[in-house]
Assembly symmetry: C2
Homo-oligomer: 306 residues x 2
Amino acid sequence: MSLVVSGSIGIDAVELPGGERRSDLLGGSCAYFAAAASFHCPVRIVAVAGEDFPEHHRKTLSHFRIDLDGLEIRKGKTFRWGGRYSGNLDQRETLFTELNLLGEAPARIPEAYKDSQYVFLANGPPALQLATLNHFPQRRLTVADTMDLWIRTARADLLKLLGKVDGLVLNYDEAELLTGKRNAVAAARHILEHGPRFVVVKKGEHGAILVHKEGIAALPAYPAEKVVDPTGAGDTFAGGMMGHLAAEGGRLHDPASFSSVRRAMAHGTVMASFTIEAFSLDRLKRLTKEELDARYHEFAEMLRME
Amino acid sequence: MSLVVSGSIGIDAVELPGGERRSDLLGGSCAYFAAAASFHCPVRIVAVAGEDFPEHHRKTLSHFRIDLDGLEIRKGKTFRWGGRYSGNLDQRETLFTELNLLGEAPARIPEAYKDSQYVFLANGPPALQLATLNHFPQRRLTVADTMDLWIRTARADLLKLLGKVDGLVLNYDEAELLTGKRNAVAAARHILEHGPRFVVVKKGEHGAILVHKEGIAALPAYPAEKVVDPTGAGDTFAGGMMGHLAAEGGRLHDPASFSSVRRAMAHGTVMASFTIEAFSLDRLKRLTKEELDARYHEFAEMLRME
């Protein structure tokens, strides 16, 4: 059940529809994913940050069951991202992206991580995701995330990556961009032809769709009334999902069966519903396992039909 | 379990994104609703059509368990509507609306309908919906639908209506328009303050949200890959839901409890998933109870978490 995630650690600035602004927030796909997954199992991270990375952000990460040996601190500046939300917090505009160290050599992967069985490749250049994969020869389940930038600029590498992973997680509009198909199920089914066993199409407040070689499922989002900041919802969804798959996988002959992934998605959904209740990792920092379990059972109950 | 629906019977013309066109289709909220509900219980309709209403459309309606005594045929022309779909069939533009008889005196309500216990007021002028209500003094459960037109032009009547119904069914953007709130749960909760016990917010391919005085639930749509024509999806969703509530209500002390409405919504969801597989009522006409039950069980299974 050794879970590793490679991706970004960053410092975010967020502007809300009402005009409220927050800066110097701990962010990045790797941070969000790992914090979420750590509720289900210990997590190893592979990421790079600069000497400017604040000590209190490191402290926040160490608050979770995250192995920080793979967080490489290097001379230079940490990745920074700023975004502005509008509408029902469902539209996001990127105000700036400073790649900084993220644009340089990838993070060193600790020798001790080589036996990782569960691997999540957070959003990044597909060529780097492919190279990262090779460091985990004992991998049992590998899932990748991607984004519009790579679909547009690195399609060939991305298609190659699809031949090497068990699952792909991406947004609805990205699935459409990748396949040219405007129906989520049709788009995901098309992606399966490139190799993965399953595709999870994330739809934000509208939930997610799973298209697996063994079946199709749709799940709603947890019906949230209070949304403060949706940043990290997708990454914590993936973290809750992978964390659950890794935690359960040891007991299972096949950790990525249709029914396993479907249930794991429900855990991801519930995790994301907490993330959006506050900025950055603020809500997950004070989230208890009891609260998490209670909402999961409420969610399961909400969907129980017979 | 006597269910009555008042609304429109019309003749539709539909244009699909690929350019395909169909005209002279049987349509109207009442037709769609009644056909769907009739899979669960007999349905009485209150609607008006003109002398131009084709005999084969009447035959289609009589194919279902629909009491046509309340379908008044009057001198004049039947309501006609034409629309064009674009994108992922999720955008609809109205090309023309010919109210014809729908703009004149409402349909006569047969004396024999007075004992109806379950009443659905399909989309129409709220003042007319209010007047219709008074014809059913024995009503046990009343649900209304509405649309942006009435929210804009007859808000006062609509708010009055909300004080007289148990439930309201409307689209996401309509809920936003009515309340000024951009979150589906917040908008629905606001509507509850005007009187109804529950609000169902329809989100098309993204499912529906129930905000009930006793709880909140979200359901996905059935993940459909093949969508031919989404016309009538919302009305057959409501028909499947109300038909199920009416069929089960006799056994229940409270036919509109949170858990009853939630389960009934799942029946509505499954019904809508068939409707969109063909034009007009074509799919429901050949739908068997076995197919319906099988998909309902598949849907319930898809959502079962423990």
